[in-house]
């Protein structure tokens, strides 16, 4: 057999995949140079599901952000001539018992829900990264002490404690401000896992030879932390942040559904779904609970998909 026929044969076996073999030869120098972030981006882009997740999420964020432009109604404006309207041209998702346009409330509710999710995660990350970073970098008794604290935080049963705290500090607070309370409760209760992860990350990074090399070169500690440690944990932090945000949105929705989260009249998806606890509404006014529920579902799912894709893209182990 000649070489040529051999090649043809292989091409037949995998026709569409290896036709680049012959014309794209050997010149590694000509390959596109990719920064690590670009590599992640490329890997991520290949993941169709994750990209879909990201797009859905971006759309939802845009819908929430552009709410004032998208809807002519005010989420708090009552119109008693339009009470409990079914979906129609003027009110795409109907109105509630006070004649407020429901689509508008869902859009604004998304703003609150996502804001709570976002800031809860920011709090979670700030504390988690700080604690994990300190524990990992300094080790010794600092690590020991901080990890004990983390252990205790991780032993807190999330929902009951969140409910308790919410009930305890909530009452003094106006509905508009309750969402800040929510952010803190969710953020404060959920940083433990992240701190642990970052600590592990830093511990293993600290043992990596490039950190040793930096020390050998006489690089300052602060620079080692900023230039060498943090950029290398950033990927994981971003992944945790996305997945954490999905969790936080879910927690907020749960608490608000129980009436212990953000309270009306401030709309959030969670307290909008609460409408359906009344069987009449559940049965006869589907538009009052289905859309906000679906919104939560889509938000959480899109973030989960996005976060999973991101993790796969960042994780060097995955192909």
């Amino acid at each position: 057999m000649t070489e040529k026929s051999m090649k043809n044969k292989t091409e037949n076996k995998a026709p569409n995949k290896n036709n680049n073999l012959d014309n794209k030869d050997a010149k590694e120098e000509e390959q596109v140079i990719l920064t690590p972030w670009k590599l992640v981006k490329r890997k991520f882009k290949k993941n169709k599901v994750a990209v879909t997740g990201m797009i859905i999420f971006i759309i939802m964020v845009l819908l929430a952000l552009l709410a004032p432009v998208l809807t002519p109604y005010d989420p708090y404006a009552m119109d008693f001539s339009q009470v409990n309207q079914a979906p129609s041209k003027t009110h795409l998702l109907g109105t509630d018992e006070l004649g407020r346009d429901y689509l508008t409330r869902i859009l604004y509710g998304g703003r609150v829900s996502m804001k709570v999710g976002l800031f809860a995660v920011i709090i979670e990350i700030l504390i988690g990264a700080l604690v994990g970073g300190l524990a990992g970098y300094y080790g010794g008794w600092v690590d020991n002490l901080l990890m004990r604290i983390v252990e205790i935080f991780m032993a807190f049963p999330f929902l009951p404690i969140a409910i308790t705290i919410s009930a305890v500090i909530g009452p003094e607070v106006a509905p508009e401000k309750r969402m800040y309370i929510m952010m803190f409760i969710i953020g404060l209760l959920s940083w433990g896992g992240l701190a642990r992860m970052i600590r592990g990350q830093i511990l293993s990074l600290r043992e990596q030879e490039f950190i040793q090399a930096a020390k050998a070169l006489g690089i300052r500690d602060s620079r080692i932390i900023w230039k060498h440690l943090i950029p290398n944990t950033l990927g994981y932090i971003i992944v945790s942040a996305t997945l954490g945000m999905a969790g936080a949105i879910m927690s907020e929705a749960g608490l608000s559904f129980l009436g212990l989260g953000v309270t009306p009249p401030v709309p959030t998806w969670g307290n909008l779904v609460q409408n359906a606890r009344d069987i009449y509404v559940l049965k006869n006014r589907v538009w009052l609970w289905l859309p906000p529920g679906v919104a939560i579902f889509f938000a959480v799912m899109s973030i989960n998909l996005f976060g999973d894709g991101l993790r796969d893209a960042i994780d060097p182990k995955s192909k």
């Binding site: 070489e3 044969k9 292989t10 076996k13 192909k319």
Partner: protein
């Protein structure tokens, strides 16, 4: 022919998202009964994949044996049923892997892991198998075998684990033992112990050994015949003495010249410039030409095929005759 195993034009490709990796690309060689064949080459040149193709252990997807024959005992292993190949694995052909630390299942005792193959292939019952396992452990020189048999891999040192791997591999007295870099992860003094053991077993059990390594020293010491691989192809194939005395492929020569212990004191090491090509972007023509001092236009265009230049000595190079140490 006394050939126990004959690999003919074996091609194993990996279909990845980035393209096709021709990990093994038309490999021909044979193993004689009772002899040791050494396979050397740089990391990623396809040694392990060749070995795993023989036992059909290629992860599929993404890998696939695209073509070729693997004749063993008159049967083509690429064609036999899954049931048949399972019967051959561990029984007629067994394998020792590179990493003794990760190749044993951490949750089972080493004894059990040896017994498993025995109970499967030799129809021994549990107590018989256990006795046999202890016997095998003693054979590979493990002290206190009666006790070790009930221990878990993590309780053993690297050398001990590799011995266990060997005991497991030889327990059914295979006709062919494939050893994929069995000592790379071990220290010199331990490596010496293992090599000694393998030689010992070979003479006792009369198995053929296919020894994969990148250490020319180990090859020189252990093998009867050597195959040199580069980028999924065989570049040179010769009896061991012949190869070391009279290497003909520029790659083999370069390899030998870059080993410090083969170099005269104070002399500069010769090195092969450049690095192993990315299997996704293989050069046109002879895969070695970008690093080859002897490359001509011919090498850049066409791929040389493996040809016999002396009895038993095959080289895949257009200019083999002109090339010398």
């Amino acid at each position: 022919m006394g050939n126990l195993l004959e690999v003919q034009d074996l091609k194993t490709y990996f279909y990845t998202d980035d393209g096709v990796v021709k990990a093994v690309d038309g490999v021909n060689f044979s193993v004689e009964a009772g002899k040791t064949i050494g396979i050397v080459g740089e990391s990623g040149c396809g040694k392990s994949i060749t070995a795993m193709s023989i036992l059909r252990l290629i992860p599929d997807p993404p890998g696939r044996i695209v073509s070729g024959k693997i004749m063993f005992n008159g049967e083509d292993l690429t064609k036999v049923s899954d049931e048949q190949i399972r019967h051959i694995r561990g029984n007629d052909i067994s394998m020792i892997f590179q990493e003794p630390m990760t190749s044993l299942n951490p949750v089972f005792t080493v004894g059990f892991q040896i017994m498993e193959a025995l109970m499967l292939h030799q129809n021994l019952d549990e107590s018989e198998a256990k006795n046999k396992a202890i016997e095998m452990l003693k054979l590979v020189g493990i002290p206190r075998a009666e006790k070790i048999v009930d221990e878990y891999p993590h309780q053993l040192s690297g050398g001990m684990r590799q011995r266990v791997m060997i005991a497991m591999a030889v327990s059914c007295q295979p006709k062919l033992l494939i050893a994929d870099e069995p000592t790379t992860a071990l220290d010199v003094t331990i490596q010496a112990q293992i090599l000694e053991l393998m030689n010992d077993l070979k003479s006792k059990l009369n198995t053929s050994i296919m020894l994969i390594t990148h250490d020319l020293g180990v090859v020189a010491e252990m093998s009867d015949h050597v195959v040199v691989m580069y980028s999924g192809k065989i570049v040179e194939d010769a009896p061991v003495d012949e190869l070391f005395k009279n290497p003909r492929h520029p790659y083999t020569i370069g390899l030998m010249n870059s080993i410090p212990s083969l170099i005269e004191e104070g002399k500069r090491l010769e090195s092969i410039s450049g690095s192993v090509p990315n299997p996704l972007y293989l050069p046109k023509g002879c895969y070695f030409h970008p690093r080859c001092k002897f490359a001509t236009d011919e090498c850049r265009k066409g791929q040389p095929s493996l040809r016999e230049i002396a009895p038993g000595h095959k080289v895949s190079c257009f200019r083999a005759e002109e090339v010398t140490k």
